[in-house]
């Protein structure tokens, strides 16, 4: 970590976005009191993270780990609920998180995605004011992912604060009202999803163009960054629709055109190399 300075207000849904190794998990560990910062401090609800955790106002879902074995999912959720001062009703949480059909199954017999959903139920049953989730949808299939975010939306709508780490730009874009972009242990952007998307170049246009003129390419509308390797050009775009129209108008000889979602890792490298922090 290279020093991050962020304040999150009650009721916000914040995405901590970054590639693997950006420092998201470390940030969450420090926030939850699992790891002390080398310098500076982390505070939750105005107190030390461990005190906030002890007060039962924090619900957390860590990135790694399986569940306690030799218990059914329902038993484990009940067990964990008993540690909190004002837990939600276990049956209600099982319904809310859609784990009814696996509730009577032993935790060691769950698939990766099912384990994640059970862990979400454990985080939720604590009835937290702040919910912290570290890459919650990893290992979930598309359907579980959708169900997960639907539950999250409901939960956040009750005025609770949600902080989640993800390396999917789409998730951050769709579910957060604020995105904190991290790379190499520092915050490189902090703003609304639209602002951050514009920064990282939400789309990428690839094409073959003889003798590309980088300067002309970089100044096309909707293009944030251009690079070329031989005849192959690569445009990072904040608005790919606008960019492709301008690109074709200006360079009708371009071929092999491909438009794809931004590769976050590349985008982060671009954002951070300028600062000499590689």
């Amino acid at each position: 970590m290279r020093g991050i300075d962020v304040a999150i207000e009650t009721g916000e849904t914040v995405a901590l976005l970054g590639p693997n190794g950006a420092g998201k998990s470390t940030t969450i560990d420090m926030l939850l009191g699992l790891q002390p910062p080398d310098a500076g401090s982390a505070t939750l609800f105005g107190s030390h993270p461990q005190d906030a955790v002890a007060s039962g106002r924090i619900g957390g879902m860590l990135q790694t780990g399986s569940l306690l074995r030799d218990l059914t999912v329902r038993e484990l959720v009940t067990m964990m609920a008993s540690l909190y001062p004002r837990p939600l009703d276990v049956d209600e949480v099982i319904g809310l998180t859609g784990i009814g059909e696996i509730a009577e199954r032993m935790t060691q017999r769950l698939s990766g995605g099912e384990t994640q959903r059970a862990r979400f139920a454990i985080a939720l049953v604590s009835n937290p004011d702040l919910l912290v989730l570290d890459e919650p949808t990893v290992a979930m299939d598309v359907e579980s992912r959708r169900a997960f975010w639907a539950t999250m939306r409901e939960f956040a709508a009750e005025g609770r604060t949600v902080l989640f780490a993800t390396h999917y730009l789409d998730e951050a874009d769709e579910f957060a009202d604020r995105v904190i972009l991290m790379a190499h242990g520092r915050v490189v952007a902090d703003g609304s999803p639209t602002e951050v998307k514009a920064m990282v170049g939400a789309r990428r246009v690839r094409a073959t163009l003889p003798e590309p003129d980088l300067e002309a390419l970089a100044t096309l509308p909707g293009v944030t960054h251009a690079e070329a390797r031989g005849e192959s050009v690569n445009l990072s775009c904040s608005d790919s629709d606008e960019a492709i129209r301008a690109f074709l108008a200006r360079f009708p000889e371009a071929r092999d055109i491909e438009i794809s979602g931004a590769d976050l890792e590349d985008a982060f490298l671009e954002l951070t190399t300028g600062e000499g922090s590689r």
Partner: protein
Amino acid sequence: MNVAPYVRYELLRTFRNRRFVILAFGFPLVLYVLIAAPNRHRHDLASSGLSAPLYFMVGMLAFGTMNAMLSAGTRIAAERSTGWNRQLRITPLAPRLYFRTKVLTGYAMSAVTIALLYAAGSVLGVRLSAGNWLHMTLLILVALIPFAALGILLGHLLSADSIGPALGGTTALFAFLGGAWFPITGHGFLHAIAQLLPSYWLVQAAHVGVGGSGWGTEGWAILVAWAAGATILARRAYVRDTKKV
């Protein structure tokens, strides 16, 4: 906050782990029956004046309960390796309750071990006065306190891979030096070392069943020192143990 479900499910899951239960309870029991049954008609073992089933039952009580207590370490190391330890750290679970639950589980395991060995002993003809049984059992339960703390300590220091051999070695060494297998007598170097170990006093507690007198001041002092030391170290190990394993 009603923590009863936490304690209840922790106990329940320990006894649900079939392989663990069979090994933890079966091993001392089978070992006892294998050694004692062929010798069950020997009423004066090695001119000790004691019957073989009684003598071996008492030794196995010390060994079996020690094993049951230390096995908390195995379960803790396994929980840590799956990251569950970190999950617990982000709940309001107080270290005190965590420790109490682990110790309670260890005692539940020990109680079953004691009951099984008593039962096997009585089948093989062991008869003791109610007062003797009670005195012996109570002293054994007290002498197990250092082992409860040691189990938790080792569970938080060692990985799931290394704890098996480490605990096996520790238990064997404790049992051997404590005199669970054969008496440590005389006043030599080995005896002096043995008297500094909690297992020696655990074995002395079990020996109440064969006419021993329990502990004097020295025994109490050494057990209290081990219990206090291991508890402090276990607590420290637990508090520091927040990293991924």
